[in-house]
Symmetry: C2
């Protein structure tokens, strides 16, 4: 067993240092003089710190990362490596929180209401010498548009997942057990250089394929089953997301073959219009129109896609209710599906970079009918 | 590749049906007429439903599980299998929430403040026709004492992890890469019948072993390194937790050997006094006394243990600040460690069942010096 030279060493750096400034530009509109960042992925985005415990105080002039003794060495090293202007303070049990002192001169401190618990919010309201202000999505909005270093990481994760499917794909045959195939994909991604799987890998065959969020189980695949494999890898914190579908024993003819083709055509229709400036809802509508034509309108029971980055699901959403337009630098999935009880399911998904005049695919496994 | 007959089929059932009644007994003291359960593990505990999206309304007479279309079949099947008196309501986007109707006759509805976000709490306050009441730990308290079916699941998970270490242990040698060993343990647990790893597996060698929460990396193990392996499996939602430490190439003599022995002695001292009625803090103190004797008081930088069940960390905590006493049926870890920069780290951890007159170990891998 060998792990390749860490993939991340060969990747271009991310522009972490400029992110704090872009966050501060939003303070006035949000009605805050400071933000307490408690969402792990947001702390990482702003500082480079990847530990499991840390919160980041950001006011107009200072940024202070509060963490515990476990990260005494790691936190300053990662902050320095990211080149950001962030002080690190190691807090300990029984010590007074530095937050009271930090908040003395700030009237309104934003909290991240989408991830902080009600209990934590109550506790912080006691600690802060300021009004706690409800905020949502300030940093998540910034994270939607990726820089080149981020795109390179998602692309590297996608390449690891592609290689895993190339290795494991031939085992997806009659008699193979869903849970085994999923474990093999995960293992191939780990030994192929991924830090981890991007989410719980889905391998769903036969009746399970008709469930968009099936968990792999003990059922062996049978000849003629539709099989949906939805998985991704993590490289340096960034995730990829891809789904490939097939029919065990060959596509053949009949309703399974028609569904495989119809959903692939729907995905192609969606991908064809992805470009900066295009309303996200139009991509969803393009996929949906093809499936309606094929009589599968009701079988497509979820949205068409989502942003991917430090989180597997982030902005923008690509659904019928989406209100915004795509922007260059966003990384999104396009993943129409069709699920029919008694027949099975199909989903085709790629992760793509939105560009000014179209898109660039980051996932690359063949889509074979 | 084959997955064994699902382990869970051979396990005794859990007594799920009685749990709602035990929850309702707490309503008066909590000052609520109903509780909206939004923590996934708590929903599963009360209903048997294991899907990723679901909340449970519990009032004095009704229990209603709200989930979405993905779980239209799974939710009623799991609720029926658990034998609980729970109605399932499938909600859809754009439909009015059933919560307003449910809450019409209840003046005070508890929310789970330890997991619900501030944003969700605000949204629910709009939906509920009642006062939203801050509650914490109502169900987590019930979950601390396990029934026989729960213990059997944790024990089955522990057995899978034991088998994984037996298979992978011989590869833990000079030149082996931390990340590879971790991936191999995870793969062995998955192919051995686990639904998943219980948490991100730790394999930490040499300098990394001195970090209690190291992540496995690309470093190859070297002769003489201390190595800490901390991992567990999931069976039917229940987790195990175990840590084994060793020295690459053999324990030998010197400070590494002394640390391996001292921490093992500390663990034995802690385990020796585990029994119903013993203050949890005394178990911590027993471990700490042995390490102080060995000059390692400052090197033991975390608490001695925690409960294990549907979550990898749950009550009770076994630390110097713990206030309660152990109860029969609790499943806890005893895991003293010592971490010395420049030398490395050691941790010995077992998951054990607290009994009236002592404990029964659930993890069983040999502890070899």
């Amino acid at each position: 067993m060998t792990v390749p030279t860490p993939i991340v060493d060969a990747l271009p750096p991310m522009r972490v240092a400029e992110r704090l400034g872009r966050l501060r530009e939003q303070f006035d509109v949000a009605g805050i003089g400071a933000l307490l960042v408690t969402t792990g992925a947001n702390v990482r985005y702003l500082t480079g710190f990847s530990g499991s415990a840390g919160s980041l105080w950001v006011d107009g002039s200072r940024a202070v990362l509060l963490t515990d003794g476990r990260y005494r060495d790691q936190a300053p090293a990662q902050v320095a490596s990211a080149g950001v202007d962030v002080e690190v303070v190691v807090t300990g049990a029984g010590q007074p929180s530095p937050l009271r002192t930090l908040s003395v001169h700030v009237a309104e401190v934003g909290l991240e209401a989408g991830s902080i618990t009600w209990s934590e919010q109550r506790g912080l309201a006691q600690v802060l010498d300021s009004e706690a202000v409800f905020t949502e999505g300030l940093i998540e909005g910034l994270r939607e548009v990726k820089d080149d270093g981020e795109v390179a990481r998602i692309e590297a994760a996608a390449a690891v997942a592609d290689a895993a499917l190339a290795a494991v794909g031939p085992t997806i045959a009659a008699g193979a057990v869903e849970a085994d195939v999923a474990a093999a994909l995960d293992h191939a991604m780990r030994t192929g250089g991924a830090a981890d799987r991007a989410f719980e890998t889905i391998v769903a065959g036969g009746p399970n394929s008709a469930l968009p969020h099936a968990r792999p189980g003990p059922r062996p695949l049978a000849e003629g089953d539709l099989v949906v494999c939805d998985f991704g890898a993590v490289v340096d914190g960034y995730r990829s997301d891809m789904t490939r579908s097939r029919r065990v024993g060959g596509t053949g003819i009949g309703p399974e073959a028609e569904m495989l083709a119809a959903v692939l055509e729907a995905q192609a229709a969606g991908l064809a219009i992805v470009a900066a400036g295009v309303p996200a809802a139009e991509v969803d509508a393009a996929c949906r129109a093809v499936l309606a034509e094929a009589g599968l309108a009701d079988a497509f029971s979820h949205g068409t896609g989502h942003g991917v980055g430090l989180d597997i699901h982030e902005g923008p959403g690509l659904s019928s209710s989406a209100t915004g337009s795509l922007r260059a630098g966003q990384v999104v999935t396009v993943e129409p599906g069709a699920y029919v009880a008694g027949l099975g399911g199909v989903r085709w998904e790629d992760t793509v970079l939105v560009t000014d005049d179209g898109h660039r695919p980051l996932t690359g496994s063949p889509k074979v009918l």
